[in-house]
C-alpha cells in the first residue's frame, strides 16, 4: 500500500504572533509540523505497519526550510520525502494544484492530510486535492480501517460521529484520534539522514486570493472581577442579564 501524506510547516502553537504589514513577523518564531499533519503521519505509519508492506511518502509545499519538517517525518518513520519548493499563499487551491501535479503520476492508494493547518485554518487543501485528482474524499477522520479495497472512516460531525465507507484510492483529512503521534527515536533520526529527500519547484500557478492587510485582534474592553466566591453569583447573573443581555 502506497500512502502519501501532505504536511505543512507552520509556526509553533505557542509562538508569539506579531503582525508586520500584510504578514506576520517571522523573527524568533519556531516552526513545527502542523499538529494535525502529525496525526496523519501517525495514521499512515500504522497502516503500513499493519499491512507489513508499502511505502509512506511525505510531501510538502513550502520554502526551503520545510525540509526540516520533512526530515522530522522521515525520522518518525516515513520512507522518503518530496519538497515542492514555492511560496504558499492564502490561495489553498494553488497549493492543492502543486500537490496534485506531484501526486497524479504517483497514483497512491491513499492520500492523508491533517484536517487543517493551524496557521491559516482554511481546511481546504484536502478536499480540493481530491477534486483535482478525481478521488473520493472524507474529511475530519478520527479513526480509519482499510479492508477489501475500501476505507471505513469515522468522521467527526456536529454532535456525533458518522461512519462512512469509500472506495480506494481516496483522500482523507485526519483529526486527533486515539493514537498519539510518535516521537522520532534516536535510531529514526540517524536513519532519516540517509533517506531520500527530493526537492523541486512547486507548480503553484498564480495566487488569486491575496492578503491585502493583516491586523492584530481587536482589544477586548477591560473586564472586571465581579467578586469572590459564591457571594458574587447574584451580581454576575444580574450583569449577564441587564448589562451584557446574554441571558
Amino acid at each position: 500500500m502506497n500512502i502519501y501524506v501532505c504536511i505543512k510547516r507552520v509556526p509553533d502553537t505557542e509562538a508569539r504572533i506579531k503582525v508586520n504589514g500584510a504578514a506576520i513577523d517571522p523573527a524568533g518564531i519556531k516552526h513545527v509540523i502542523s499538529p494535525y499533519d502529525e496525526f496523519a503521519i501517525e495514521a499512515a505509519l500504522r497502516l503500513k505497519e499493519a499491512k507489513g508492506a508499502g511505502e509512506v511518502v511525505v510531501v510538502s509545499v513550502g520554502d526551503a526550510a520545510s525540509a526540516e519538517q520533512l526530515r522530522t517525518a522521515l525520522a518518525m518513520g516515513a520512507d522518503r520525502a518530496v519538497l515542492l519548493e514555492g511560496d504558499v499563499t492564502a490561495d489553498g487551491l494553488a497549493t492543492a494544484k502543486a500537490l496534485a501535479a506531484e501526486l497524479k503520476a504517483a497514483s497512491p492508494d491513499l492520500v492523508l492530510l491533517g484536517m487543517k493547518g493551524v496557521d491559516h485554518d482554511q481546511q481546504q487543501v484536502g478536499p480540493m486535492l481530491a477534486e483535482l485528482l478525481g478521488l473520493p474524499c472524507v474529511t475530519v477522520v478520527s479513526e480509519l480501517q482499510v479492508e477489501n479495497g475500501q476505507v471505513i472512516a469515522h468522521r467527526e460531525v456536529e454532535g456525533g460521529v458518522e461512519v462512512v465507507e469509500s472506495p480506494l484510492p481516496a483522500v482523507l483529512t485526519i483529526t486527533k484520534g486515539k493514537d498519539e503521534p510518535r516521537y522520532p527515536s534516536l535510531k529514526g533520526i540517524m536513519a532519516a539522514k540517509k533517506k531520500p529527500l527530493e526537492q523541486k519547484p512547486a507548480q503553484l500557478g498564480e495566487s488569486r486570493l491575496k492578503v491585502t492587510s493583516m491586523s492584530p485582534p481587536p482589544d477586548r474592553p477591560p473586564g472586571r472581577i465581579v467578586g469572590e466566591g459564591v457571594d458574587a453569583v447574584p451580581e454576575l447573573v444580574r450583569l449577564l442579564r441587564e448589562e451584557a443581555k446574554v441571558l
Binding site: T13, E14, I17, V19, I24, A90, L93, A94, A96, V118, D121, Q122, Q123, Q124, G126, P127, M128, A130, E131, P136, C137, V138, V140, I152, E156, V157, E158, G159, G160, E162, V163, V164, S166, R208, L209, V211, T212, S213, M214, S215, P216, P217, R220, G223, I225, V226, G227, E228, G229, V230, A232, V233, P234, L236, V237, L240, R241, A244, V246, L247
Partner: protein
C-alpha cells in the same frame, strides 16, 4: 442579473439556524453589488415545505433538491449540484463554516477552479468589490483578503453574522440533483450521536468550558447541569489540558489545536488561559471566567470574573439561572 448562491443546511428536515446567517450575508453582498440571492438546499422529501422562510432574510429564490438519500449530507451530490447551479453570472457563493460547509465549500471551489476564503468573520462590499476578513493563527491575527475574479467563494463563521430582516419573495423551486445520489462514492453507514440534539461547541450560542481546575472528569456533572440550565443552544467545551489528560473528547476542545469559537456567551471554568486557548475563544461576545487564581491570564480577556472554587460556585450559578 448576477446572482449570489447561499448554500444552506438542514438537519432532520428542518433548516438550521446558520442558514439564516448565510442568506443574510449573501443579501448584504447582493445589495452592494446588485445581484439576486438564490439559496440552495438539499434534504429529504418535505424539506421544501419550510424553505420559503429564507425569503425573510433576503432570498429571492430557494432552489431545493428533495431526495430520500439526502437526509444525510452527501458531499459528492451536494458538490456537483452547487457547482452546476453556479453556471452563468455568479458573483459569489456563500457557505456556512460549519462541519458541512467546511467539507463542501472547497470541493465546489475546486470544481469551479476558483479560490476559497474560509471561516470569514467580516465582509465588506461597500465599494462594489468584495473584501473579506478572517482570523489566522487561531484569531491571533486577522487577515483581509481580496479575490481576483469570480465566483468569489467564501464560508462564514457561525454566530458572527446577524441577519437583518430583509423580506424578498423566497420563491421555492424544486431542482434535480446534478449527480444521482445512488452514484455517490462516499456512503454513510451509520451515525452515532454523541450528545443528542446539542449543538457542536463550534456553533453553539453558549459554551460552558472546563479546564484543569475542575480537578477531574467526575466533576463534569457540574458543568453539564449549568449547560442544561442555559438551554438547548448551550454546549460543553474543554481546554487542551483536560483533553490531553483524557477527561474529555477532542471534539470538545477549544483553542488552536481544537475549535475556534465565537459564541454569545463563553463561560470558562477552571481554565487558566494559555495563549492557544485564548486564541480560540477571545472573539466570543461575552466572556465569563471562574478561577481560583486571581492572576490567571483568563481574567485579562474576561468581561466578568469570579475568583473562587468552581465546585462551590457552579451549583449556585446553575441554581440562579434555573430560577430566572
Amino acid at each position: 442579473m448576477a446572482k449570489i448562491l447561499a448554500v444552506v443546511e438542514q438537519r432532520d428536515g428542518a433548516l438550521r439556524k446558520v442558514s439564516n446567517e448565510v442568506v443574510g450575508a449573501a443579501r448584504t453582498i447582493a445589495d452592494a453589488v446588485g445581484a439576486e440571492v438564490h439559496a440552495v438546499l438539499l434534504g429529504p422529501p418535505g424539506v421544501a415545505g419550510g424553505a420559503g422562510e429564507l425569503g425573510r432574510w433576503g432570498a429571492d429564490k430557494v432552489l431545493v433538491v428533495e431526495n430520500d438519500a439526502l437526509a444525510q449530507y452527501s458531499p459528492d451530490v451536494a458538490a456537483a449540484t452547487v457547482a452546476a447551479q453556479a453556471e452563468g453570472d455568479t458573483y459569489a457563493i456563500v457557505f456556512a463554516a460549519s462541519a458541512q460547509g467546511r467539507d463542501l465549500a472547497p470541493r465546489v471551489a475546486a470544481k469551479l477552479d476558483v479560490p476559497l476564503a474560509a471561516d470569514v468573520t467580516a465582509i465588506d462590499a461597500s465599494n462594489g468589490e468584495l473584501q473579506v476578513t478572517r482570523p489566522v493563527y487561531s484569531g491571533r491575527a486577522f487577515a483581509t483578503l481580496a479575490f481576483t475574479g469570480g465566483p468569489r467563494v467564501l464560508s462564514i463563521r457561525p454566530n458572527v453574522f446577524r441577519p437583518a430582516e430583509n423580506a424578498k419573495s423566497g420563491t421555492v423551486e424544486t431542482i434535480t440533483p446534478a449527480l444521482d445520489p445512488s452514484q455517490a462514492r462516499v456512503k454513510v453507514r451509520e451515525v452515532k450521536a454523541a450528545s443528542g440534539d446539542r449543538p457542536d461547541v463550534g456553533e453553539a450560542a453558549i459554551v460552558v468550558s472546563g479546564g484543569r481546575g475542575m480537578k477531574g472528569p467526575e466533576s463534569w456533572n457540574l458543568l453539564e447541569e449549568l449547560r442544561d440550565a442555559l438551554g438547548p443552544q448551550a454546549a460543553l467545551g474543554a481546554s487542551r489540558a483536560v483533553v490531553d489528560a483524557g477527561w474529555r473528547p477532542h471534539a470538545e476542545q477549544v483553542g488552536q489545536t481544537g475549535k475556534t469559537v465565537s459564541p454569545q456567551l463563553y463561560i470558562a471554568v477552571g481554565i487558566s488561559g494559555a495563549m492557544q486557548h485564548l486564541a480560540g475563544m477571545r472573539s466570543a461576545r461575552t466572556i465569563v471566567a471562574i478561577n481560583k487564581d486571581p492572576d490567571a491570564p483568563i481574567f485579562k480577556v474576561a468581561d466578568y470574573g469570579i475568583v473562587g472554587d468552581a465546585h462551590e460556585i457552579l451549583p449556585k450559578l446553575t441554581e440562579a439561572i434555573r430560577s430566572m
